[in-house]
Structure formats: structure tokens, C-alpha cells
């Protein structure tokens, strides 16, 4: 049967050389009259330009109550209320918002990340609340910044956005400082932050402890919540002006 193998090898060699030696035919353009260059359309016909979209994730929900802020007040309810107020404020400023939950439901971290990643948001905010500390705590992911690849590992998708997330954090920090709300910045490892593929900040609201320039305010104080929401909305508005799709 050696002759069959030899014939096969010859046939394969012939096909390979044929593929190399016969490049695809080239049809040179006929020389035409000189025309001015036409800029390429920004978006192909029928494709919508990318829109500025904010994802708000109200943390916890359902059986996952989060922190007990005070008697009868649960973190899951505070975060949902804050997220709803922020959505209304952003809508009033003409910003599109997607919320991961709008009711008191259990939502797994993986579903929250999936909801955020599906819409390819321009900014993602994870809303938390705590009875500890003072003012607003802003957190970004503790992952190492990495290059944005076509495919990102699910568990560390945020690594491609850490630098952008820190810029967004800085915008929110400035807006809160402008509103005279104390801010602490940090890095944390909290689900589902590391799996979210967009500039993302966890905003944790705490009661305001009275100091030299601040007066004591409860976490449930509506005017305090409004001042925080307004500041965050203003920061996102600024983020939108700097945003490049």
C-alpha cells in the first residue's frame, strides 16, 4: 500500500503549492478623476450610535437583607430606595438608566454582573449602605489593571476597567466634596464587582457623624439622601460630558 501513501503525499504537496502560488486575483481600480476624500461614516447605516447608559445595582434583596442599619431599617430597603431616587434624578438629567432590581427580590451576584455586562454600560454603580463610619465610602475593585482584551475572564473582567473606574470614583469624590459630604476612598473585593465589565464604583452610604463642618444626620434622613443622590448624579453628568464611546 506504499504507492497509495506516496500518491496521497504527492497530491497534498501539489495542493499546498497551488494554494501558495495562486494568490487571489487582484482587480486594480481604473484610474479615475480625482475626487475629494469622503470621511467614513461614524456609524454604518442602520446601526445606532452607542448611547450613554448607567447601570445601578441596588445591593442585596429578598432573603439577603444586608446590614441592619437601625431598628426596622434594612440595607436592602435603603439601597433600593437610594437606587430609585438616583434613577429618577438621572432620568431628569436625560441619562438612560438600567437597574438590576426594582423590587425586593433575591438576585445572585452572577445575575447582577450579567445584567450589567449585557447592556455595555458607560458607568456602573453598586449601591450599599452601612451603619458604620461617616459620610460616603467609595470603593473600586482591588484587581490589578489589565489591558482590555476581546475576551475577558468572568472572574476578573473588571481588571480591564480599573483605571476608568478610578477616574469615575474621582468624579464622584469631587462632587460629594463639593456638597460638603465626607468621603473615604478604598479598594475592596465585593461580589459582583470583579465580574462587571464597565467603569464601576461601589457607593456605600453611612450616617453622617457630626464634626467641625458637618452636623449629625441619620442614614434615613431624606434630605441627606437627596444631597448624596444629587452629588452622584452631577458626577455622572460630568462623566457623560467626558465620555468617549
Amino acid at each position: 500500500m506504499r504507492w497509495i501513501e506516496a500518491a496521497g503525499a504527492i497530491l497534498l504537496a501539489a495542493m499546498a503549492s497551488g494554494a501558495q502560488q495562486s494568490p487571489p486575483p487582484v482587480h486594480p481600480l481604473p484610474p479615475g478623476p480625482a475626487v475629494p476624500a469622503i470621511p467614513a461614516p461614524v456609524n454604518p447605516p442602520g446601526v445606532q450610535p452607542p448611547r450613554f447608559l448607567v447601570v445601578i445595582d441596588a445591593a442585596h434583596g429578598g432573603n439577603d437583607i444586608g446590614a441592619r442599619i437601625e431598628s426596622g431599617v434594612l440595607e436592602k430597603d435603603v439601597t433600593l430606595g437610594l437606587a430609585g431616587r438616583l434613577r429618577s434624578t438621572l432620568h431628569a438629567r436625560g441619562v438612560d438608566v438600567v437597574m438590576t432590581r426594582t423590587t425586593d427580590v433575591n438576585l445572585a451576584a452572577v445575575n447582577r454582573a450579567e445584567a450589567a455586562n449585557r447592556v455595555q454600560a458607560s458607568a456602573c454603580l453598586v449601591i450599599h449602605a452601612t451603619a458604620t463610619g461617616s459620610g460616603v465610602h467609595l470603593y473600586t475593585s482591588s484587581l490589578t489593571p489589565a489591558a482590555n482584551e476581546r475576551f475577558l475572564p468572568w472572574g476578573s473582567a473588571q481588571s480591564a476597567y480599573v483605571t476608568e473606574s478610578m477616574k469615575l470614583e474621582s468624579e464622584i469624590d469631587s462632587a460629594l466634596a463639593h456638597a460638603a459630604i465626607p468621603v473615604t476612598l478604598g479598594k475592596a473585593s465585593v461580589a459582583p464587582m470583579d465580574s462587571i465589565a464597565c467603569p464601576e464604583v461601589a457607593v456605600e452610604m453611612a450616617p453622617l457623624v457630626g464634626g467641625h463642618v458637618t452636623s449629625s444626620r441619620a442614614l434615613t434622613d431624606v434630605s441627606y439622601q437627596k444631597s448624596v443622590v444629587d452629588a452622584v448624579a452631577a458626577a455622572l453628568d460630568q462623566w457623560r460630558s467626558d465620555w468617549k464611546p
Binding site: G133, H137, S156, V190
Partner: protein, 229 residues
């Protein structure tokens, strides 16, 4: 009709089974004796230690109000055994959490069940982070008493990591368990499924932004090149 050969084979296998059973029972007895001898030779419990020496340790106590870690030197009787040392140091840290007027109040009597040390596997580029991994087994009571929130939970983990690394510099990684079991979060927020790096001294400052330096220098991801450097 059973042939003579089959009878012989049957009895030979029976004898082999009995011999193996006797051999395994003897092996088991030997292993039990060896474990008992090791337990007898192991260092005594912390309270019974007679070889402890008084040393000054640095505890990193969190301040919830400004998100910082405050170094606090304290003199403690430390046993020779490293695991026991780590337990004594972390017990003192938990005592600081519980003290009246604490800046990070966690009212719990016993916070750490045990601390184990494992060598860190050295890869090609892991020279900078070679050392030991401390597996800190927190008590369920501490997890239950821990105030819930990103900030308080992160500060608890940071203070344990910073305190361990400051007093036992070989500790470069820390993994947390609760009552000997893997747990998703400490109290609903801080991730306990991952291994943290504790390879740098926290840059403790005072004031509103102090935690930025402290957290970004200590709380970093597994591969060790945190964003805050």
C-alpha cells in the same frame, strides 16, 4: 464437582485475605501510636505555655470614622511556637476591637480559632511574594458580631493582615476561614473566597484620606501587583 486445583486456589486466596487484614490492622495501630506520640510532643496550649517571653508587638487597630489603621504597640507574652504566637497576637487584636471606646467595635470574646501556616508555592516570577500563607480560622462568633458593610468588613480583614505581616514578616498571603469552613463573605460583603496579599506595610496616615494609602497598599489581588502602588 470442584477440582483439586480450584480448592487449593480458594484456600490460598482466603489465607491471603486474612494476612492482608492482619497487616492493615497492624498498620493502623502503628499510625495511631505515631499520632499519639506527635500529640504528646506538640507544644502545650497557649495558657499552659511555660516558655513564653515578653515581646512588644504592633497591632493595627481600625478606625471606622476615617477608614484608617492605627498602629498600637503592646507588650505580650509570646510562646515559641509560631502558630501559638499568631493566635496570641490576633487574640490581642480582637481584644482591642472589644475594648470600651474602640474605634472599630466588635463585641466578641474569642475571634480566632486557629492560625495555620503554609509555604507559598514559588513560581518563576513570584520571588517578590515568596513566604508563607497564613490561613486564619475566624470564629463564627466574630463573623456574627462583625458589623455588616463594605467598610467595616474590609477594615477587619485589613487589620488582621497588617497585624500578622507586621509581627510575622514571612506572612505574605492570608486566607480566611470561618469555623474551619470556606465562606463566601465575612458578614455579607467582604469576599472570603479569595486569598489576599499582605506583603507590604500599611502606610498609616491620619485624616480623611488616610485609608486610601492603607487600603491600597495592603488589600491587593492574588497576583500581587495592586493598583494602588
Amino acid at each position: 464437582m470442584i477440582s483439586r486445583f480450584q480448592k487449593f486456589l480458594f484456600f490460598a486466596m482466603l489465607v491471603a485475605c486474612v494476612a492482608m487484614a492482619v497487616f492493615l490492622i497492624r498498620l493502623r495501630n502503628r499510625a495511631e501510636d505515631r499520632l499519639a506520640a506527635q500529640a504528646a510532643a506538640a507544644p502545650a496550649e497557649i495558657g499552659e505555655t511555660t516558655t513564653s517571653t515578653q515581646k512588644t508587638v504592633t497591632l493595627y487597630v481600625p478606625n471606622d470614622l476615617d477608614d484608617s489603621l492605627i498602629p498600637w504597640d503592646k507588650s505580650l507574652p509570646l510562646p515559641e511556637d509560631r502558630n501559638a504566637q499568631a493566635r496570641v497576637i490576633l487574640a490581642a487584636l480582637v481584644e482591642a476591637y472589644r475594648a470600651p471606646g474602640s474605634t472599630h467595635p466588635i463585641n466578641v470574646a474569642s475571634g480566632v480559632n486557629n492560625v495555620y501556616f503554609l509555604p507559598v508555592a514559588q513560581g518563576k516570577d513570584s520571588g517578590a511574594h515568596a513566604g508563607q500563607m497564613a490561613v486564619v480560622d475566624l470564629s463564627g462568633a466574630l463573623a456574627a458580631a462583625q458589623p455588616s458593610g463594605i467598610e467595616p468588613e474590609t477594615l477587619t480583614l485589613l487589620s488582621i493582615m497588617a497585624t500578622l505581616h507586621a509581627n510575622l514578616p514571612a506572612v505574605t498571603q492570608v486566607h480566611f476561614l470561618v469555623d474551619g469552613q470556606q465562606r463566601e463573605t465575612l458578614a455579607g460583603h467582604a469576599d472570603l473566597t479569595r486569598t489576599y496579599l499582605a506583603g507590604e506595610e500599611p502606610s498609616v496616615q491620619s485624616g480623611q484620606r488616610s485609608a486610601v494609602g492603607a487600603q491600597r497598599s495592603v488589600l491587593r489581588d492574588r497576583d500581587g501587583s495592586g493598583a494602588g502602588q
